[in-house]
Symmetry: C2
Subunit: 220 residues, 2 copies
């Protein structure tokens, strides 16, 4: 039974399903503990105990503790795609589509603030802002490219760069949101308004900062 | 001689100067090694050996290895202020002043790319994007507030937010610049153009992404 080919397809499939279920249980235990104690203060041993497995078994599912960070980022992406996909995109202008995407991102973070803060901190400390490919940048730039094709975006604008810049704005707003809380695991709504910050930053990029030409300026 | 007040002022001052000189030598050794080997792969023992001090003496100057990251960030800020101060600000429009500031930031990074990449990586991994007060945001917002007072910036714009957003754009461009190199300590100009990315991102924010009104669409 060492070789997967020794087992019939049904057995292999059931084994794969069981492994996937066990992995999900370990992941859920990890997220529960991390949202309570923070990432750095949660050990693999504690996660294993919570999931009722031996410590060494954890590594069958996640080769290193840091692999939890990747799993979280992947799950985030999947949830964002699901939300974006559930909304009819047809007929939305570029501004509305970007606004909706920022709003979905805000919701994803606000649904479970303690977990978002703990995992985003771990994501930053793992150096991901520097080495991760920007899936979010690609999503934004797709929206901008479609808007440009419809003439809603200046033809001088590079959709790829706008996508990257929108991702920079999103991350910056998230960091400011997190920075307002005394400790990552304590979520207290102190007037921190992630959604408002996201929409304001987006408006700046859509409309620009420069005043229209005029002697003293004439705000449109 | 345990109490500083036991020594005369001249002695205290000389001692303080000597300590500052020694600290600078340790700092210089650290930066030399880190730019060659990266931050994570440079140990306190190696820095001490390079600076010709005992390992324990390192901690007289820097309480933890991570304090080097703070010292680097402070030195960065001081060098930026020095550059900004050496240019006459009077008569510069807001766009020119922001362009000049971005250009100075680009220069600071490009002067010693290997060190910038290694220390910025350490800065991110220490979680600083999340917990550091944004001095750069304050510099940008000061420029924007002055421009707004002159009517060059739309009065609907919040200079504080623009400052934060400009800092987000700067950090995003820096990360993209670093991401292009195979390893942090290898700087090879592969067409990575930090200055161009910074100026383009700034142009986006100044002018906005939305196309001027035309026959094809009616914004809002």
């Amino acid at each position: 039974m060492r070789q997967p080919s020794d087992a019939g397809p049904a057995v292999t499939t059931r084994r794969a399903r069981n492994k996937e279920r066990a992995r999900e249980r370990v992941y859920a235990s990890a997220m529960t503990l991390i949202s309570q104690k923070g990432y750095a203060d949660t050990s693999v041993a504690e996660i294993a105990e919570h999931a009722d497995i031996a410590r060494g078994t954890f590594f069958n599912y996640f080769p290193r503790k840091e692999a939890l960070v990747n799993a979280w980022a992947e799950q985030r992406r999947a949830r964002l795609m699901c939300r974006l996909g559930s909304r009819p995109q047809r007929g939305l202008g570029v501004a509305e589509a970007l606004r909706a995407c920022m709003s979905d991102l805000g919701d994803l973070n606000e649904e479970d603030p303690a977990l978002s803060m703990a995992m985003l901190t771990a994501w930053v400390q793992a150096g991901r802002p520097l080495d991760e490919e920007s899936h979010l940048g690609a999503i934004f730039s797709g929206i901008v490219a479609a808007g440009r094709a419809r003439g809603e975006v200046s033809s001088a604008v590079d959709p790829g760069l706008v996508g990257e810049v929108l991702r920079d704005l999103y991350l910056g707003a998230l960091y400011r949101w997190i920075r307002q809380f005394p400790a990552v695991r304590e979520y207290r709504p102190l007037g921190a308004d992630l959604q408002a910050d996201l929409q304001q930053a987006l408006d700046l990029l859509l409309n620009g900062v420069a005043a229209p030409a005029g002697p003293h300026h004439d705000p449109r």
